[in-house]
Amino acid sequence: MVETQLRFRTDEPVGDPAVTVDSFGEQTNAAAVRVEPGDDARDLIPHLDRIKLVEVNFPVFGDGRGYSAARILREAGYTGELRAVGDVLVDQLAYLRRCGFDSFAPERELNLADAEAALARYAEVYQPTTDGRTPIWAKRHG
C-alpha cells in the first residue's frame, strides 16, 4: 500500500482495503472504497453512513474528474477521510484541499517543504466550497 504522506485529520487512519464502487453496494461490511475517474461518486451517496475512507485515484494528474467526485461527496455530507492517490503533485494540493481531500498518498514522494509552501500560498479564495474558507465576496460584504 502506498504511504499517506500528508494527512489533515486527527482520527485514526482507516486500514481497510478499499473496494471498487461497483462492488461496494454488495459488500455491506466494507468501509473503504476507491473511486476511479469514470465512476459516478453519486452511487456512494446512499451508503455514506458506513464509509470511513474514500480513495480517489488520479491515474494521471491531468485527469480532473476526481475533483468533482470529491466535491460531490462533501456536498452530500460525507465527513470521513477523503484521500487522493496516484499521480498527485505539489501544485495540485491546494486545489485538492479546497475540493475536500484531507489526506494524500501520492505514488511519487512529495517534497514536504514545497508542499507546505504551495498549500499556504494563497491567503484568499474567490469561490466557496465545503472546506469552510470564506470567499472574497463574503468578506467584502461581511
Binding site: 494528474f61 480532473g64 475533483y67 503533485l89 500560498r121 494563497y122 484568499e124 469561490q127 466550497t129 460584504h141
Partner: protein
C-alpha cells in the same frame, strides 16, 4: 473600469510568488518538463517555434492607459519591442526567457494584470463586446458579469484540470461583436418579457476542427444565479467530457453527443443541487462591481458636428468610428492592420502612444477587439481630427475597419509550433493586392488560420483561409460564407486548395463575382448567401482561356 481591491491584488501577487517557485523547481530539477508544462501553460507560457511565448490576459478586452503603457514597456524590457494582440483580446510576447517570466508577472501585477489561465485545460480569459459601455444598442454593460466570472473562474479548485480548454464570452447586445455563439459558453444578458434582466446561456460552440454554433440551453438565468449555473455547466462537462481523444474533448462534442436536451437536463439537475450549496455571490457583489463600470464624466451639450473637409480624415471617420450613446462622442477603432503589415502586431512605441491617446482623449480607457484592433471607446467628435493625425503619423491611421484589409490572422508557422502553414505572409499579400479597391469592395471579413485549430477564426470569415501542410508544402484552402455576428454561420470550402499566390488570385476572382452580382447595398456575405457557392466556384476554378 474595474480596479482591484486588496483581495484581488493579493491574488495576483501570490500568483507571482507561486510561478517563481514553479520556475525554480523546474530549473533545479525537482520538476520534469512533463510536470511543469501544464503549470506554465496555466500561466500562459508556451514553448513556440523560436522561444517561449507569454500570453497576458486582458480581461474582457478592457485596459487603462497605465496598463497599455506597461504592455509597451514589457515589450521593450523583456521582448523585442513589440507584441501581438490576439483574437481572444489578449496580448502575446514572442521572445520570452523562462528566467524573466517571474519578473514580467511582477511588473504586470503593479498595474493589476496577470497571465493567469491564459492557456491550459482550464477556464480561459472571459471575452466581451469591445464597445461595451459606449454604445446604445446594449441592454446593460456586459463587463460586470464578465468580471464576476473572472473572479469565479480564477483558480477554480474543481475546474483547473478540465478535459480541454474552456472559453467564455459575455455580451449584452443583439449585435454580437464577440462571436459569442462560437464559445464553450456564450452568455447574452437579456431583458425578458417581464422586463427583468437575465442571462441567456449558449453552450457548446467553438471552432477548431469541428466547428459548432452553440445552442441555447437556458433563455433567462436569474442574474444572481449566473455563477451556480456556470458551475453546473462546467461540472457536467468535467465529469462527462471525453478524455480519451484530445480532438473530441471540447464541450461542444459532449453537447453534440449527448444532445442539447440531455445535456441541458443534466445541467439543470446539477444546478438545482448547487442552489442548495450557497455558492452564489450576493447581488450586492454584482452591484459593487457595476459601480466601477459607471459611465465616465461625459460632457453634455457639446458640439455633435464634425469638420469633414479633409477627405482622408472623413474616410477614416466613416470607416473606423462608431456612433456613441452620448451625443458629441464617437467610438474609435484603431486599426492594427496597415497595408502589408502583420495583423495585430503593435510596437512598444505604438502601445505607449495609444496609452497616451487614451489618457488625452478617451477617459484613460482602451479595448482590445477580437478582430485584433484597439478601441478608444469615448472620444469627443471635436478631438477626432487631432487624434487621427497623431495615429496616422504613427502608422495607426488605416481606414479599413471591417474591410478586406482588416484581416484576422493567427501567428501561423512563422511563430507557432502547432501551425501547418504561414498565415501572416498571406495576409500581407492580400492587404497589398486589395488596398486600392477595399472601399469599393466594402465590408468583407477575411480570416486566416495556419492550422485546423482555427485561432484565426477561418470558419467564421466571410472569406476564410485555412493553411494546411500538403506533403511538406504550404497549401491554402478557401472558405466562403462564414459569419460570427448575430447571423453566425460556418463557411464552406470552395474546393481544392492553392499555393500562396494562388489563394490571393482566387480571392480576387471571388470579389469580382461579388461586384458583378451585387444588388443594391449588399455586402459580399449577403450576395454569397443569395446566389450561393456555384458562381464563385465556377469563377475560382475556371480554366484560363487559351487565346493568342
Amino acid at each position: 473600469m474595474y480596479q482591484y481591491d486588496t483581495y484581488d491584488q493579493a491574488m495576483v501577487d501570490a500568483r507571482v510568488a507561486d510561478f517563481r517557485d514553479q520556475v525554480r523547481r523546474r530549473l533545479d530539477g525537482s520538476m520534469s518538463e512533463e510536470q511543469f508544462r501544464p503549470l506554465r501553460l496555466m500561466n500562459g507560457l508556451y514553448l513556440q517555434l523560436h522561444a517561449y511565448m507569454l500570453r497576458v490576459a486582458v480581461p474582457y478586452g478592457t485596459l487603462s492607459g497605465a496598463q497599455m503603457h506597461m504592455l509597451g514597456d514589457i515589450a521593450d524590457k523583456y521582448d523585442r519591442g513589440y507584441g501581438h494582440f490576439t483574437t481572444r483580446q489578449n496580448i502575446q510576447y514572442n521572445w520570452i526567457k523562462l528566467e524573466d517570466a517571474g519578473d514580467i508577472l511582477a511588473d504586470l501585477a503593479t498595474v493589476e494584470m496577470h497571465a493567469i489561465q491564459t492557456s491550459g485545460n482550464c477556464i480561459r480569459n472571459t471575452t466581451s463586446d469591445q464597445y461595451a459601455g459606449a454604445i446604445a444598442d446594449e441592454v446593460v454593460d456586459p463587463r460586470p458579469y464578465a468580471e464576476l466570472i473572472r473572479q469565479w473562474s480564477t483558480f477554480h479548485p474543481e475546474f483547473s484540470f478540465l478535459p480541454r480548454k474552456f472559453k467564455m464570452a459575455v455580451i449584452a447586445s443583439d449585435t454580437d461583436r464577440a462571436a459569442m455563439r462560437l464559445h464553450d459558453i456564450g452568455i447574452q444578458i437579456v431583458r425578458n418579457a417581464a422586463g427583468e434582466l437575465g442571462a441567456a446561456f449558449y453552450v457548446g460552440g467553438g471552432m477548431g476542427r469541428t466547428p459548432m454554433i452553440a445552442p441555447l440551453i437556458n433563455a433567462c438565468v436569474p442574474l444572481d444565479q449566473i455563477i451556480p449555473y456556470s458551475e453546473a455547466c462546467l461540472r457536467v462537462y468535467n465529469r462527462h467530457g471525453r478524455r480519451d481523444n484530445k480532438y473530441k474533448a471540447r464541450i461542444k462534442i459532449l453537447v453534440h453527443e449527448l444532445g442539447k436536451d440531455e445535456y441541458t437536463r443534466q445541467v439543470e439537475a446539477e444546478f438545482a443541487h448547487l442552489l442548495t450549496q450557497n455558492i452564489e455571490p450576493p447581488l450586492a457583489e454584482l452591484e459593487r462591481i457595476k459601480l466601477q463600470f459607471a459611465d465616465p464624466a461625459f460632457e453634455g451639450g457639446i458640439s455633435d458636428t464634425l469638420d469633414r473637409s479633409d477627405p482622408d480624415f472623413a474616410l477614416w471617420v466613416d470607416n473606423n468610428t462608431h456612433v456613441h450613446k452620448q451625443p458629441g462622442y464617437r467610438v474609435v477603432t484603431i486599426s492594427l492592420k496597415p497595408v502589408g503589415g502583420i495583423p495585430g502586431d503593435a510596437s512598444a512605441d505604438q502601445m505607449r502612444l495609444m496609452a497616451k491617446l487614451a489618457k488625452d482623449y478617451s477617459f484613460d480607457e482602451l479595448r482590445v477587439t477580437h478582430a485584433q484592433n484597439i478601441v478608444l471607446p469615448h472620444v469627443q467628435k471635436a478631438e477626432l481630427y487631432t487624434l487621427w493625425q497623431q495615429l496616422d503619423a504613427a502608422g495607426l491611421g488605416s481606414a479599413n475597419l471591417d474591410k478586406i484589409g482588416d484581416i484576422i490572422a493567427c501567428p501561423g508557422l512563422d511563430y507557432c509550433s502547432l501551425a501547418n502553414a504561414r498565415s501572416i505572409p498571406v495576409a500581407q499579400k492580400i492587404s497589398e493586392r486589395f488596398a486600392a479597391r477595399e472601399q469599393q469592395i466594402g465590408e468583407l471579413k477575411l480570416k486566416i488560420s495556419g492550422c485546423i485549430n482555427a485561432c484565426g477564426h477561418h470558419h467564421a470569415g466571410h472569406i476564410g483561409i485555412l493553411g494546411v501542410d500538403r506533403k511538406g508544402v504550404e497549401n491554402y484552402q478557401l472558405l466562403l460564407g462564414g459569419s460570427e455576428g448575430a447571423d453566425t454561420s460556418l463557411g464552406t470550402i470552395t474546393g481544392p486548395g492553392f499555393d500562396e499566390d494562388g489563394i490571393v488570385d482566387a480571392i480576387d476572382k471571388a470579389t469580382d463575382v461579388y461586384l458583378a452580382n451585387k444588388s443594391g447595398e449588399e455586402r459580399f456575405l449577403d450576395t454569397y448567401r443569395r446566389i450561393g457557392m456555384a458562381p464563385f466556384k465556377d469563377a475560382i476554378y475556371a480554366k484560363e482561356p487559351v487565346n493568342g
